[in-house]
């Protein structure tokens, strides 16, 4: 019984981290139809920006809780500065082209951002573990967990509900849904599609950067942190169905729980468990769990 509880807790905490990043990926695909390989780079940039902000706020010696605000500020800064530059300065020139071409463009962007990150922050690691200890410890059965992990679950739930509510219960959300349904018809009705694209891309990048910023206190921020997360995030959105928020949530839970089950019971199969789960889903639902089957437009 205690092993089952541990698997559940571990699976959900891992899934919450993954969901924040995957939500941004699926949102960008849903609106802009871009499979953004550079999503992991924005995750890394969020981690670096958060590390820098935490160091600045730490130097002020006001309150350790301000470091949480610093994490958020780092993510906002990346989304506010780099996302519009990327979308307006690069991606918009490729709208309407083959999706494969956009994958190549974002892959090139990924390589450029990797090197740009090194130029700005160097290769030495950054440590910002202060926020990690703010929430103390939580005892679950015989095991001690860090309270920060549970705070991460709350943030993930808030992000998921916020995006769902924003899309389905607000006027702006309905405009975004109209653009998702048909950008041409939305434009003919007076919607500024370009602005919707920019804002949606900014929000997607904010979620990637937020994922990185929230992870920064748990790791040493250094070159290479962007690669692993984007691969697992792709598995999540493929399981859930590209462009689906509910799918990203369920996909993250499936990946998190499958991985936790494997680590606790069959460690050699940890990596296999993620892609095994993906394969099983795709056998029965080739479009992903929450993606409706669509006729191909010729």
């Amino acid at each position: 019984m205690s092993t089952l509880v541990t698997i559940l807790v571990d699976g959900v905490t891992y899934a919450s981290w993954l969901f924040i990043v995957a939500l941004g990926l699926t949102l960008v695909f849903g609106v802009l139809k871009i499979l953004n390989i550079a999503h992991g780079s924005f995750y890394a940039l969020g981690a670096y920006a958060a590390a820098t902000c935490v160091a600045w706020f730490g130097a002020l010696e006001i309150s350790p809780w301000l470091s949480l605000f610093a994490l958020l500020l780092g993510a906002v800064a990346i989304a506010a500065v780099l996302a519009p530059l990327t979308e307006r300065g690069l991606l918009r020139f490729f709208y309407g082209r083959d999706e494969v071409l956009l994958v190549l463009v974002t892959y090139a962007l990924f390589l450029v951002l990797e090197d740009a990150t090194k130029l700005v922050w160097g290769v030495n690691p950054y440590f910002v573990s202060e926020p990690y200890g703010l929430f103390g410890s939580v005892q679950v059965g015989a095991l001690s967990y860090v309270g920060y992990d549970f705070a991460l679950i709350a943030v993930a739930v808030a992000c998921g509900l916020g995006v769902w509510w924003g899309l389905n219960r607000t006027r702006a959300g309905k405009i975004v849904l109209a653009v998702i349904h048909s950008a041409e018809i939305a434009a003919s009705m007076g919607v500024n599609v370009g602005r919707v694209y920019t804002l949606a891309f900014m929000f997607g990048i904010f979620l990637a950067a937020l994922g990185g910023a929230l992870t920064a206190p748990m790791i040493s921020v250094q070159p290479g942190v962007s690669v692993g997360v984007v691969i697992v995030s792709f598995a999540v959105v493929i399981i859930g169905g590209l462009g689906s928020i509910e799918g990203a949530a369920i996909g993250a839970l499936i990946v998190g729980l499958a991985r936790a089950l494997a680590v606790h019971t069959w460690p050699e199969a940890e990596l296999f468990s993620i892609y095994g789960a993906m394969a099983v889903v795709l056998i029965f639902r080739p479009e992903g769990l929450f993606q409706r089957v669509k006729a191909r437009r010729i």
């Binding site: 690691p125 440590f127 990690y132 790791i219 690669v227 460690p267 940890e270």
Partner: protein
């Protein structure tokens, strides 16, 4: 000008150009290490930084004797740096480019065990000289035979045998042992070697959790739960770099290091960065007597100052292994040049000079004693972490040194067989 005078003038000009070319002749040395990716911060960049200051000192003739000749035997060294990131297939192509396009005279490089396993046969096929300076897998020379390929550092068997011997010497309890190692050649080899050594030195010891997270996992919450769920006396790990730092940052607040004695086979390089975040009492090695465990010597003092002055931090294992490769290669190159009338040597002459040779390094004496003179052995050391608030840095206490013959297999014996056979031929004090 007569035709004869013209010919003489042309010859004179040609001779002048030839003399000038000879005066400007350089020894082109390819240096391959991680300049990007997850291994750059801990291994690649510090090693390349070490190479830069040492090559600069060589070119100025500023290294201590017997390394004081300018460059290699008077020929200036011209380094060509290449990024090791990108996978083994890319590295084979990059190595071919170094020899064919960049026209390097020799290559020193490679941190990744997978990269070493891939590039060694390529260099051999091309009949070009190659030194593997860092990678740990014993399989390179145990499963293959090479004429042009050398490794100037001990392989991973030494690290794990030394760890096990340290635990035995200090009477550390090892009834149950948990493992967490990366899921690739280095992690698997390290785990197997330590398991085999523990079976010899701690008969009856059991394996608890045996985890193999992927390289670059970053998130270890689930693994830490699994390790906490299976109480053990010891936890062995060969994690390194960003993975090790993330693991320590996530495991320490959950009390893992208070519940079990952690032993890390290659962890000295994370100490300067982690500082106070590194728990006290962790037993660790550095894959040699490197950094805070290095022996006192004039050569080590020179190297320590050279590196620390340039980069504001003391050298750890990766730059140590780079400098010992460069020092050994310098002596071999100069020996080969002397045998070649002062001219740049061929790969065959370089190989003949390095094969079975010995030299002093900042970490002690390096001997090319295994695999028909192609694989080095060296002394090593293990210590225990303790944060020093006065120095504001992590220090290592209870340091124990192990002679090379105590922790490396004898010539002609595979590491795993040697351990399982009860360390026959080991010479320990």
């Amino acid at each position: 000008m007569t035709r004869q005078q013209g010919a003489v003038a042309a010859l004179a000009v040609a001779a002048l150009f030839s003399a000038s070319a000879s005066a400007q002749e350089t020894f082109r040395l390819g240096i391959v290490s991680f300049l990007s990716g997850p291994a750059a911060e801990s291994f690649g960049v510090p090693a390349v930084n070490g190479a830069k200051v040492v090559i600069e000192a060589f070119n100025k003739g500023a290294a201590p004797a017997p390394y004081s000749k300018v460059g290699f035997g008077g020929v200036r060294i011209e380094p060509v740096y290449v990024d090791e990131n990108g996978g083994a297939t890319k590295q084979v192509q990059e190595l071919r480019n170094l020899y064919d396009r960049e026209k390097v005279d020799a290559v020193i490089g490679y941190v990744g065990s997978g990269d070493c396993l891939a590039v060694a046969p390529a260099a051999e096929e091309m009949k070009k000289f190659l030194i593997l300076y860092d990678c740990g897998t014993p399989r390179i020379f145990e499963d293959g035979k090479y004429s042009y390929v050398f490794r100037t550092a001990s392989h991973a068997v030494m690290d794990n045998v030394a760890l096990a011997r340290y635990l035995k010497a200090r009477n550390v309890k090892a009834g149950t042992i948990n493992y967490i190692n990366q899921d690739y050649a280095w992690g698997h080899d390290s785990r197997n070697d330590f398991k085999a050594a523990a079976a010899q030195l701690f008969p009856g010891s059991k394996t608890g959790a045996d985890l193999l997270p992927k390289f670059g996992a970053g998130q270890y919450g689930t693994e830490i739960s699994a390790l906490l769920s299976q109480p053990a006396d010891l936890m062995h790990s060969s994690l390194w770099g960003g993975d090790l730092q993330a693991f320590i940052l996530q495991a320490a607040p959950r009390g893992l290091f208070k519940r079990t004695q952690a032993v890390f086979s290659a962890a000295d390089h994370v100490l300067p960065g982690l500082g106070q975040r590194m728990p006290d009492g962790v037993i660790l090695g550095a894959r040699g007597a490197y950094g805070l465990m290095s022996p006192k010597s004039a050569l080590n003092d020179w190297w320590w100052k050279l590196y620390s002055d340039a980069y504001g931090v003391h050298p750890v294992q990766a730059p140590y292994r780079m400098v010992q490769a460069l020092l050994g290669f310098k002596l071999a190159a100069e020996k080969a040049m002397a045998a070649n009338g002062g001219k740049k040597p061929t790969p065959e002459q370089l190989a003949a000079a390095l094969k079975g040779s010995e030299w002093e390094s900042p970490a002690g004496r390096i001997r090319m004693a295994l695999s028909d003179g192609h694989q080095a052995i060296q002394d090593t050391a293990i210590g225990r972490t303790k944060y020093d608030p006065k120095k504001k840095m992590v220090t290592l206490v209870d340091i124990q040194r192990f002679p090379a013959e105590c922790v490396n297999p004898p010539a002609g014996v595979k590491g795993e067989e040697w351990i399982k056979g009860g360390f026959k031929g080991a010479k320990c004090p």
